[in-house]
């Protein structure tokens, strides 16, 4: 009887010991890698922010999303150039063909789209995946977009050339840009020349 109890105790002991040792090893590994991983994430975010709003030197994350922001908006950053507000960068996650398209849209203080970066997506490789390419993102009709000038696909009555065979992916990006513009608008209420209601209406259409 005592032998059986002893045997069972051994089972539990060995398993506990192995689990404890591995927990300890992982704690040490985590201690060394965690700061580096955090740093890399921060760097990646900063690089993307700088790309979207080239004029700004440092960025501050808005703690809470503005009221009335579109459902795809996930984060908002304010950009500063020598302590002068330089614009905002909005992180949006519109749904594309294969899933969420996570992207950042920078809007300069003058109300123009300053830069767009697609951070991650799961669109079809070779078709929808072209939303990350300059051929699509850098086209005139998107670069010219801004407050009061919401970009829209040709199919939807605008001027933006959609990627061939990837209208849904293209439309997702445009929807993201327009939601970002709507957020920017709520910050630059004093921006000149903004019949912003139009942007609002256009955005509604894009969302079906």
């Amino acid at each position: 009887m005592a032998k059986i109890a002893n045997e069972q105790l051994r089972l539990v002991l060995v398993l506990t010991l192995i689990a404890a040792i591995s927990g300890g090893i992982l704690a040490i590994v985590n201690h060394f890698t965690e700061p580096r991983i955090k740093e890399l994430e921060r760097q990646a975010t900063n690089e993307a922010l700088a790309l979207c709003l080239p004029g700004a030197g440092d960025f501050q994350k808005e703690e809470s999303l503005p009221a009335g922001a579109g459902g795809d908006v996930s984060e908002v950053y304010h950009g500063f150039d020598n302590n002068e507000p330089a614009g905002v960068v909005v992180k949006v996650e519109p749904r594309g063909y294969g899933g969420k398209v996570t992207m950042m849209v920078g809007i300069a203080a003058q109300g123009k789209v300053a830069g767009i970066k697609v951070l991650s997506h799961s669109e079809t490789s070779g078709l929808g995946s072209k939303i990350t390419e300059d051929g699509f993102l850098q086209q005139e009709a998107i670069r010219e977009g801004g407050l009061g000038k919401p970009p829209a696909l040709k199919q939807d009555g605008g001027k933006v050339e959609a990627i061939t065979n990837a209208t849904i992916s293209s439309r997702a990006v445009i929807r993201g840009i327009n939601q970002a513009l709507a957020v920017a608008e709520s910050f630059f209420t004093s921006t000149p020349g903004g019949p912003g209601d139009e942007a609002e209406a256009e955005r509604g259409d894009g969302e079906e």
Binding site: S22, G23, L26, A27, V29, N30, E34, E93, R95, Y97, G98, G99, K100, T102, S120, T124, I168, E208
Partner: protein
């Protein structure tokens, strides 16, 4: 409610765990020679995936509370192993009929990557699932697995009578068949459920 419907539809058809995400390929290829066993495996996997989703979601919240997120993989796999053992014991004691039907598949499920996979997907910050959403995702993932393995087993049963070159027998033709089913499932990826629901 619509979010649950979207998650469910996505996990079953658009991002089917087996045919689009490549999770649970081992049992998919291994236990699909007969329709009957495929159904059994599918049901067992669905059951465990649903339970595992609910439990690992809670366990992860606990890990976050104690700042131990880095132990997630090791904890999840142990929780799943214990869960599978536990389910086996309960079934044997209280439902011998069900145990007879599912029992032999249960030990195989611990190392089914669809189960650990769904647990990890559920805690992905970019998905941001709630407890209910995670559980629905687990259940639907299981249903998607069952659907895929049943379709596959049905085709494989017929394949037994097809004359094949020797080199193609077994896994090679099974993989090609899986590829063809996967092409069929690609059709769902353009499906606009939101539009259909009038959203």
């Amino acid at each position: 409610m619509t979010d649950l419907l979207l998650i469910s539809f996505g996990a079953i058809f658009i991002n089917n765990f087996v045919l689009a995400r490549f999770l649970g390929i081992c049992p998919f290829l291994g236990v699909s020679k007969k329709l009957e066993t495929a159904v059994g495996m599918g049901l067992a996997v669905t059951f465990v995936m649903t339970m595992a989703s609910a439990i690992t979601y809670g366990v992860y919240k606990l890990l976050v509370l104690f700042d131990l997120e880095y132990l997630d993989t090791i904890t999840f796999i142990l929780v799943i192993a214990v869960l599978v053992q536990f389910v086996e014991m309960i079934l044997r004691k209280y439902s011998p009929g069900l145990y007879q039907a599912l029992g032999i598949y249960l030990p195989l499920i611990t190392t089914n990557c669809a189960v650990l996979g769904v647990a990890i997907i559920n805690i992905d910050p970019s998905e941001g699932y709630s407890f209910i959403q995670a559980t629905v995702n687990g259940f639907s993932g299981g249903v998607g697995f069952t659907l895929a393995i049943i379709l596959f087993a049905g085709l494989r049963e017929r394949l037994e009578f097809a004359p094949l070159p020797k080199a193609m027998e077994g896994f090679p033709i099974a993989l090609i068949l899986a590829g063809l089913i996967s092409i069929a499932f690609l059709g769902f990826s353009g499906f606009r459920l939101q539009a259909l629901l009038g959203l």
